[in-house]
């Protein structure tokens, strides 16, 4: 077991604004509460359907989306619950989507892997690894063509770094100076396959640099580090300075999908090390008793998100099932 007690909770600047801090904390807590609830519901058999949990990676979605406006775009991945929550999608409608109900974000037609709410710029998650990035590129091109000053974010994982479209899009974003931020969530594993095995470079940011896209390696388990670097990237992109690439080194605490036992391909020691760098613990240690945020504030936010998730489950379970006639609607406009 590696001791991590010596590690500083953050090396990045901590915002001196209690409202921002509360928002970051609440978002991370809400994502975690939502995901742990999904885990419980699935394990107990109350809920079925595929789901890929975001637990452990909360700092990335939170720090990235905290820098975005509601009309900025996000294209997500199969592990997308955290991105959706951080972008402002209503968790009750998300839960209803997981339940396959008519009130779900996608009216029960998408499920966990396709949650979208375009009214808050969440263009959707995709189950095809790497395929969200061209969509985000198109949104960035659209923003630039329409001269709206919106920015577009593509989330993708280390697994997608084996897919061609990431590089095609880095190239196009660079030659056209698009307002786009590539957020690579390097959680060390593509399904059961380690990045060590599958990728020839340790720091994936170096690959982006070769496209002359400004790239930074970020501590993805430190929300302040993500928030800090994303702030710079967004500022530059909005001002016409072109794309950026953030490699957020992070870790997923659960398996690839719910039901996958990750101890078949990684060790308990490794998991303990990363859990020892938990983004929520580190946030709490970083702000403890300072910056206008009391223990009480933190506790009440914790309680509030747990209640929000409980209400989401209630909403989902009491929501109507889709009318079977919906099977054939919305194939065409």
């Amino acid at each position: 077991m590696v001791s991590v007690s010596a590690e500083a909770p953050t090396t990045a600047p901590v915002p001196n604004d209690a409202e921002i801090l509360k928002r970051l904390y609440r978002t991370m807590r809400l994502i975690r509460a939502f995901e742990l609830k999904v885990e419980t519901l699935r394990t107990s058999g109350r809920l079925q359907g595929s789901a890929h949990l975001y637990v452990g990676q909360e700092a990335v979605a939170t720090g990235v989306c905290a820098r975005l406006n509601a009309d900025d775009y996000v294209a997500s991945t199969h592990r997308g619950h955290g991105h959706a929550i951080a972008k402002g999608v209503d968790v009750a409608r998300m839960m209803a989507e997981l339940y396959g109900r008519a009130t779900g974000t996608n009216k029960g037609k998408g499920g966990s892997m396709h949650i979208a709410d375009t009214s808050v710029g969440m263009l959707g998650a995709t189950g095809i690894v790497g395929a969200g990035t061209p969509i985000a590129l198109g949104a960035a091109l659209s923003a630039k063509t329409r001269k709206t000053r919106q920015v577009s974010v593509a989330f993708f994982g280390d697994g997608a770094m084996g897919q061609g479209p990431i590089y095609e899009c880095l190239n196009m974003a660079a030659i056209w100076k698009l307002p786009m931020i590539f957020v690579c969530e390097n959680n060390g594993y593509a399904e059961s396959t380690s990045a060590e095995y599958a990728l020839s470079t340790r720091d994936l940011a170096r690959r982006a640099e070769s496209f002359e896209v400004p790239a930074t390696v970020v501590d993805g388990q430190d929300v302040f580090d993500v928030f800090h670097h994303m702030g710079e990237a967004v500022r530059r992109a909005r001002d016409g300075g072109g794309p950026a690439f953030l490699e957020c080194k992070t870790y997923r605490y659960y398996g690839h999908f719910l039901g996958d036992d990750p101890l078949r391909y990684r060790t308990q020691e490794e998991e303990a090390y990363h859990r020892g760098r938990d983004c929520i613990d580190r946030f709490e240690r970083a702000v403890a008793g300072s910056r206008g945020l009391s223990e009480n504030d933190l506790r009440s936010l914790q309680n509030e998100v747990v209640e929000t998730v409980e209400r989401a489950v209630e909403f989902a379970e009491h929501s109507p099932l889709p009318d079977v006639a919906e099977l054939t609607s919305e194939v065409y406009a």
Partner: protein, 345 residues
């Protein structure tokens, strides 16, 4: 007013008129202008698109709307999908239909499915314009463009829910269907046959859209229905001329829309002629030809006085040699033989 235009110019005119009408229309593709980034050397619009169908557009609309892309079909078509759900109406030029091999994910899993998958939150007003077809020169010295640049492959697209597919057979239908595709709020694949593009036809000057989902009857006849897909409609017309010499009156239905198919038009024709031949340059299995045959088997079998015949490309990759390529493609003679076979039975 109408005048004679090459079908490729008719396509050009459709794009130009629609772009003039609607500033949200942009075009993306490889070499749709050509010489991108070389304006300082005096070069613009070096190619005007692979078949010249986008010639002159960059001068009129500029590089912000006529966007030459690097060679990366999956990502620029994916980007077109992303642009389509965020306020633009892109036309993506897939240079040759065979390049679907590297872009199918963007067309299918994103472009075609997004609207449904997202519960109707978005529409995807996207056109994928692509060149199809064997040129079938019959040349004894040399040949055509071989297996990777001569496919038709409509059925790959027509198979996918969420996509519409249109295939004109001449300059008039080229302009009308491309205009309709651009105005449609769904992803529409527009198949531009390389033997249709260089042929002149009467084209109205003003903008017009032909309804997607409607076939047209090009020639009336009472003995046998010949259904043509894309350029094969022209082959059907030739075959009908040959059959007329033997006193057989063939009706030619130009399918035009491959998804959805105008089943009413096909069934109505077969009801009168009692005989059907479907002519499709694409491969024989799981094809538009088999879909039309299945439609008539399902809803019009009582009309038939003979077996449904299909005349298709061979079940081979498209060969290079002009002689082999000409043997690959359906000919008027093969259509005549099929018509006589169903009439004899």
């Amino acid at each position: 007013m109408s005048r004679e235009l090459l079908a490729s110019r008719a396509e050009n005119e459709a794009i130009r008129q629609e772009m003039e009408r609607d500033p949200s229309i942009v075009m993306l593709g490889e070499d749709i202008a050509g010489a991108a980034g070389r304006a300082h050397l005096g070069f613009v619009d070096a190619w005007g698109g692979p078949m010249g169908s986008t010639k002159g557009l960059i001068q009129q609309f500029g590089p912000e709307r006529i966007i030459d892309t690097p060679i990366c079909e999956m990502s620029f078509i994916g980007a077109a999908v992303g642009a389509a759900i965020t306020g633009l109406r892109p036309i993506a030029e897939l240079m040759f239909v065979n390049f679907i091999g590297v872009s199918l994910d963007s067309v299918m899993n994103e472009g075609a499915f997004l609207r449904y998958m997202l519960g109707g939150q978005v529409s995807v007003p996207l056109v994928i314009k692509t060149a199809i077809g064997a040129v079938a020169t019959g040349a004894e010295n040399g040949g055509g463009t071989a297996a990777q640049h001569s496919g038709s492959m409509y059925s790959i697209f027509a198979h996918i829910p969420g996509l519409k597919c249109v295939a004109p057979s001449d300059a008039y239908t080229a302009k009308g269907l491309l205009t309709a595709a651009i105005r449609d709020d769904n992803p529409v694949v527009y198949f531009s046959h390389r033997k249709v593009g260089p042929v002149k036809g009467e084209v109205p000057e003003e903008a017009y859209a032909l309804p997607i989902g409607k076939a047209r009857t090009l020639r009336q006849g009472k003995d046998v229905t010949l259904v043509g897909v894309s350029h094969m409609t022209n082959v059907c017309c030739e075959a009908a001329g040959l059959l007329a010499r033997d006193g057989i009156e063939a009706e030619v239905v130009d399918l035009l829309s491959l998804a959805p198919i105008d089943s009413e038009c096909v069934l109505e024709s077969v009801r009168r002629t009692k005989h059907l031949v479907v002519v499709d340059e694409d491969w024989p299995d799981c094809s538009i030809a088999t879909t039309v045959a299945a439609l008539v088997a399902d809803q019009g079998v009582d009309y038939l006085d003979g077996p449904v015949k299909t005349v298709t490309g061979a079940r081979t990759p498209v060969p290079y040699s002009g002689v082999l390529e000409a043997a690959y493609v359906p000919t008027p003679e093969r259509v005549v033989a099929a018509a006589l076979a169903t009439l004899r039975d």
